[in-house]
Assembly symmetry: C2
C-alpha cells in the first residue's frame, strides 16, 4: 500500500536535465535561465509534482513544523489560541502539531520530548497546572530548540512570552463584583504553581484594597488539577459555602464552568444567589444559568503573537538574546 509520486529525478530524466538544475529551477534560483525554468515548471505542473517534505526536512535539518502543548483542546480558550497559531503558521508555511497535557506534568514532558524527537523547529507551550520542574525544557532550549511560552509562563526562563493582562482582568472582575454590592468575595483558582494564579490573585487583592475590604485567605481556594477532577471542585465549593460568600471570582475557564456546575449540583438553591465572575472564553456563556460576568482573554491574538515571536526565533540567523513579554488586554463582559 504505497503512494507513488513523481520526484525531481523523474523530472530530470524526462527533461534530460540534472537533478540539481531541476531543483534550482523549482526553487526559482537566479542561476537558472528563464527558459529552463519555464520548461521545468511546466512539466512539474503537468505531472503534479509535489516536493517531498520529508526529504527536504532531512537535508535541511528542519521540519517546518512547530509543536503546541496545551492542557486541553476541548477548552475554548485553548482552541481559540490554536486558531490564532494556525492562522500565522500556515501563512508562513509551517505545520502545527498539537499535543494535550491534560494538566499532567508527566504527560506534558512526554509529549514535549516526543515532539522534540520528531524534530519540530520550535515549541509553543502553556504549562500544565502540575508542572513545577521545567528543567527538561531548559535542556531542550539549551540544545537549540526555540520555545515561546503563552498564558501559563514560568519565571526565570529567558525567552519570549505572551500573556494576558491577568492583573487587570482580575482587578476589573473583582471591582465589578464590589460595585454591584458584594462584600464577601471568594476566589476560586488554579494550582499555586501557575503564573496566572499568582497574577490573578494579585488583581483580586488589589481590588479589595481599593475598596477597603479585608483580604481573607480562607476565601481563596486552590485547585491543583485545574478543575479536571470534579471532586476537587466540589470539595472547594463545599468549603467555601459555609463562609457565606455573596460573590465569587474564578480564575480559569475550566474552573468557571466546573464551579457553576458544582454549585448547581451541591447547592442549587444558593447557586443563583451568588454573583459569579470568572475567566472564560466560552462562546456559550450567554446560555448559562446562573449567568455570570466573564473575563475574556484575547486568545486568538495571543496565539498569533506567540507564533510570530516563535517563527522569528526559528528563522533568526544568530541566537536571539533580547526577549520580550507581550501583555495583552482582557475584556470584561458584564452579566446581562
Amino acid at each position: 500500500m504505497r503512494f507513488e509520486t513523481s520526484t525531481i529525478k523523474d523530472i530530470a530524466k524526462a527533461l534530460g536535465l540534472s537533478t540539481s538544475t531541476v531543483s534550482r529551477a523549482l526553487r526559482d534560483r537566479y542561476e537558472i535561465s528563464e527558459e529552463t525554468k519555464k520548461l521545468v515548471l511546466a512539466y512539474a505542473e503537468k505531472v503534479n509534482y509535489r516536493a517531498n517534505p520529508i526529504a527536504r526536512s532531512l537535508k535541511e535539518r528542519r521540519s517546518y513544523s512547530i509543536g503546541i502543548i496545551v492542557s486541553e483542546i476541548a477548552n475554548n480558550f485553548f482552541s481559540q489560541v490554536i486558531n490564532g497559531i494556525e492562522s500565522i503558521a500556515y501563512d508562513k508555511d509551517y505545520h502545527v502539531i498539537i499535543s494535550q497535557s491534560h494538566e499532567s506534568y508527566k504527560q506534558e514532558k512526554l509529549n514535549v520530548e516526543h515532539l522534540a524527537s520528531r524534530s519540530i523547529d520550535g515549541l509553543l507551550i502553556a504549562l500544565s497546572s502540575e508542572t513545577q520542574d521545567i528543567d527538561y525544557l531548559r535542556s531542550l532550549y539549551a540544545k537549540g530548540l526555540p520555545i515561546v511560552f503563552f498564558d501559563r509562563v514560568p519565571k526565570d526562563f529567558e525567552t519570549h512570552k505572551v500573556i494576558a493582562n491577568n492583573f487587570k482582568g482580575s482587578f476589573d472582575a473583582t471591582e465589578h463584583l464590589i460595585l454591584s454590592g458584594k462584600r464577601t468575595i471568594a476566589h476560586l483558582t488554579n494550582s499555586e504553581n501557575l503564573s496566572i494564579t499568582k497574577e490573578r490573585l494579585e488583581g483580586y487583592k488589589a481590588a479589595l484594597v481599593k475598596y477597603h475590604i479585608e483580604f481573607r485567605p480562607e476565601l481563596v481556594k486552590y485547585c491543583q488539577h485545574g478543575g479536571m477532577h470534579s471532586a476537587e471542585l466540589e470539595q472547594a465549593v463545599k468549603e467555601l459555602l459555609p463562609l457565606q460568600p455573596d460573590g465569587i471570582f474564578i480564575s480559569s475557564d475550566r474552573l468557571t464552568t466546573g464551579c457553576i456546575m458544582a454549585l448547581k449540583k451541591t447547592n442549587p438553591e444558593v447557586a443563583h444567589k451568588i454573583a459569579i465572575a470568572g475567566f472564560t472564553n466560552s462562546n456559550l456563556v450567554e446560555l448559562f444559568s446562573p449567568s455570570l460576568t466573564s473575563v475574556k482573554q484575547p486568545a486568538f491574538e495571543m496565539g498569533q503573537v506567540a507564533t510570530e515571536l516563535l517563527i522569528s526565533m526559528i528563522e533568526a540567523k544568530r541566537p536571539v538574546t533580547e526577549f520580550e513579554t507581550k501583555v495583552l488586554d482582557t475584556e470584561l463582559v458584564k452579566k446581562r
Copy 2:
C-alpha cells in the same frame, strides 16, 4: 540555531562497529549477538540517542503519522473524537496531525492535500458541510492513501466508516418530545449534503409516523454552513417561529447551541416555551438555560474505532477489499 543529537554513525564510530550493526542492534534484530546488542543499547542510552524520525520516514517511505480533518476543534464532539483518536494512535506509535476545515470545502481540500504532501500514512476525516465533490479524495485513495470516514461519511466510497446510529438517536429524541406532549415539532438541521442530515431526518420522520403526526416539510430548516454563521441560524429561527412549533429537534452540536442562542436573542419570551432536543456532546448542557434534552454521540469511542480501522489498513500487507461500516449507539440525556 540548530539542535545536535547523536546519530547511529556516532554510536558506530564510538563503538568501532558499522552503522548497519548498530541499526540492527537498536531494532533488536535476531542476527545480532546478545553481547553486541547490550553494548549498543547501553551506549545509546548513555548518549540519550533518539532515532531521527525524518530519516526513518524517508527510508521507509512512511511517516508514522495520521491526518485528521474535522470542521472545528472548538466543538465538543470533535474534540472528544480527537481524544479517542489520540488514545489509540499514541499507543501504536503514530502521531496525529489535526486540521480544521471550518466547514469550508475549499479549506478541507487544501488541508487534505497539504497533509498528503506531508506524507501522512492515512487520513481520518469528517466531511465539511459544504463538501459535495469528493473526487480529490478518491484520487488520493486510488494512489494508495488509506482513508477512514467518521461521522460525516460519503455515499459510494468503498472504505471503512464509523458513524453513530443517527436514525435511532433522532428517533429517540423526537419520540421523547412527542411523549412529553409536543405535536408541532420543528427540525433544524445541517446541510442536505451530509449523510448525518439524511439519517437524522429519517429518524425524525419515523417517530412522527409512529405517533401519527403529519410530516410538514416547512418545519424542516437546513443550514448550509452548519451554524457557522449566526445570521443563517437567526434566519432559520425567524422562519420557524411563525409556524408556532412547541418543540424543536436539532441535529448537530453547533446548531443546537447556536439555535438556543438565536432563540434567546430574537425571541427571549418564547425561548423557554419551546421544548428543545438536540444532538450535542457539550459537557456544559447542565448549565444551559433553557435546558434541553440532548443526544450524545459516543465520540471518544468513535475516534478509537476509526483509528483502529485506519491503522489496520495502513499496516495491511495486501490491499484491503473488505470494508465495514461501524454503527455506534447514541445516548439520550433527558432534560432534567
